[in-house]
Each structure stands twice: as C-alpha cells, then as structure tokens.
C-alpha cells in the first residue's frame, strides 16, 4: 500500500545543522520528516517558492536532461527507511516503457516538484518512522515555524 504525500514545508533543524522536508498525507494523519542537506533543501525550496534562478540549478538541468528525449517523471515513491536513511524510487516514462531509478529522497522530491509528479510513500515507511519523541516535537510546532528558507 502506498499513500500520496505532499510537501508541507521545509524547516531548519539547528541541532543537526540540517533541513527537514516535511511530507504529510491529505488527511494529515501521517507525516514523514526527511532530513536533507543545505544544498538539497535549497533545490526543494526553489520549487516550493517558484523561483527561477538565472542559471539552471542541478535539478533544473536534470529536468532538461529528461526533457531532451521526452522522458517524463510519472511519480516518485519513498520506499524504505533503514538505519535513519530514507530510500526512494523515481518512475520514468520513456517511449511507452516505464523505468524505475533508485534515488535519494531529496533528489526525488526536487524532481517531483519540478515535474508536477505525485509523491507517494510506502505505508511500511510510515510505520517504521515512529520515533515518538520526534513526533511530539513536530506536533508542538506552530505554523509560523514553517518559515521560508533563506539560502
């Protein structure tokens, strides 16, 4: 079973000096916090805020690379969580065939946002992600905490 997720926001995590991409499902019953690095967060933030940089960033280039031969991103799936690392797959359609490519979630999400492709998560990932302490911390966050990313 998979559930469609939406990028709810990006937060800075000062304790780990990293960023958290927060994914939530439509009913707001499940949430996935995914820690990413600064440049990865920047790539996601540019899409969320509809900023077009003067020169193509890596994921803009990635899109051009796929566009050059008319390959389409049809979906991305967060497939697994193992030892604090999330795994994901990018599903591509190219000349009537589907291809599944292994990727880090940060790349998969940055690409999904640029190609308007849906983001899914395996329900098993949601089950694994059950650090109560973390959830409490996230629950206590106010909407204002989902600030814009300065990069």
């Amino acid at each position: 079973m998979i559930t469609q997720m939406h990028v709810k926001g990006l937060m800075f995590d000062p304790y780990n000096n990293a960023y958290i991409v927060v994914l939530r499902d439509e009913e707001h019953s499940d949430m996935l916090p995914i820690w990413v690095g600064k440049s990865e967060a920047g790539a996601i933030s540019m899409s969320l805020e509809n900023v077009t940089p003067p020169r193509p960033l890596t994921h803009d280039f990635m899109m051009s690379f796929l566009d050059a031969f008319n390959a389409k991103v049809i979906s991305v799936v967060i497939t697994d969580l193992s030892e604090h690392t999330y795994f994901s797959k990018i599903h591509l359609m190219y000349e009537d065939s589907e291809y599944t490519v292994d990727a880090r979630p940060s790349d998969a999400i940055a690409l999904a946002l640029r190609s308007n492709a849906p983001i899914f998560a395996n329900n098993s990932v949601m089950t694994k992600q059950s650090s109560e302490e973390l959830e409490q911390w996230l629950e206590n966050l106010k909407p204002e905490d989902f600030g814009k990313l300065d990069s």
Partner: protein, 165 residues
C-alpha cells in the same frame, strides 16, 4: 536546449580537471582545468562549495553509499540508453561561464544548457571529454592569474595535492 552544434565550437580545446582548490573565506571552490594535451595553460572556474564537492567526489573516484545528484543523472542516462558525449564550455558573460552537455540517443543529438559545475560533475562520471571553445579561451582574463593561483595554493592547506599521507 535542442540546438545544433554552434559554429563557435570549432577549434575547441580539450581540458581535464587537474585539481580543486578550496577558498575557505568565501566557501567557494576553484576547479582548475588543465589542457589534456599537456599544454601549460590552466583554466580556473569558481563554483559553490556543494558544486565543488560534487566534482571532487568524482575526481577522487569516491563511491557514496547513496547516489548523489549527478550519479542520478548518469543513472537516468544508463536506464534510457542516453550517451553523454561531451561537455563544452561555450560562453562567458559578466564573469559567468556557460556550458552545454551533448547527449545522444539513437543517433539523435541534443544539446542541454548547463552550468559548468554540473557539466564537469557529469563529464567525470560519464566519463566524457571536457572542451573549452576558442572564443572563451580568447575572452577570459588571464592577467596575473598564474601568480594569483600560486599564491593561493601555497596558503591552501586543505587541497588534495598538498596533503601528505
């Protein structure tokens, strides 16, 4: 994107990544390209820290536990049978270099606009040659560049070429 070879690509010179320097004060990296034919000319390109690291990983042939962004692009190419043929540094405008990545699939060639950092990170992974057009080589400013680089390198402790093991 999707343009044919530009005439100004005639007489392009092949370069290779010679080394990467860290400029600690500004959190930038300098990618030093050297002529593939052994000529003494070097060609420095300033890039951000993340872009520099993407190039360094490939230069050092480091295998990361998970695919980095340019590994993913290479993976796309492998899955879709796209050959990354060459990358070319084609232009310089207000101190910004422009590059193109040339890809081929089933005899069809496409040219993709790119920052030099992405082009070089991909070229090292493909692997494919890196060219600089005569036009860019003529137009760059070379005043005191070698002296400046020498000064920087003597100060640069973190650079791989001065590390002792």
């Amino acid at each position: 994107m999707d343009t044919v070879d530009q005439p100004n690509e005639q007489g392009s010179v092949e370069y290779r990544v010679d080394r990467i320097l860290e400029e600690a004060n500004t959190d930038t990296r300098i990618i030093v390209l050297a002529r593939q034919d052994g000529g003494l000319d070097t060609f420095p390109i300033w890039v951000g820290a993340a872009e520099g690291n993407a190039i360094k990983l490939a230069l050092d042939a480091m295998i990361t536990p998970r695919p980095m962004s340019h590994d993913l692009i290479k993976s796309f190419a492998e899955h879709l049978n796209i050959t990354i043929q060459r990358v070319v540094i084609t232009d310089v405008k207000s101190s910004t270099y422009y590059a193109t990545v040339h890809v081929v699939n089933k005899g069809l060639e496409r040219t993709i606009d790119s920052r030099p950092s992405d082009a070089i990170a991909l070229a090292l992974r493909a692997p494919c040659p890196i060219y600089i057009t005569q036009d860019v080589l003529k137009r760059r400013s070379t005043t005191n560049l070698d002296a400046w680089l020498a000064k920087l390198e003597s100060k640069d402790i973190g650079a791989p070429e001065v590390q002792e093991t």
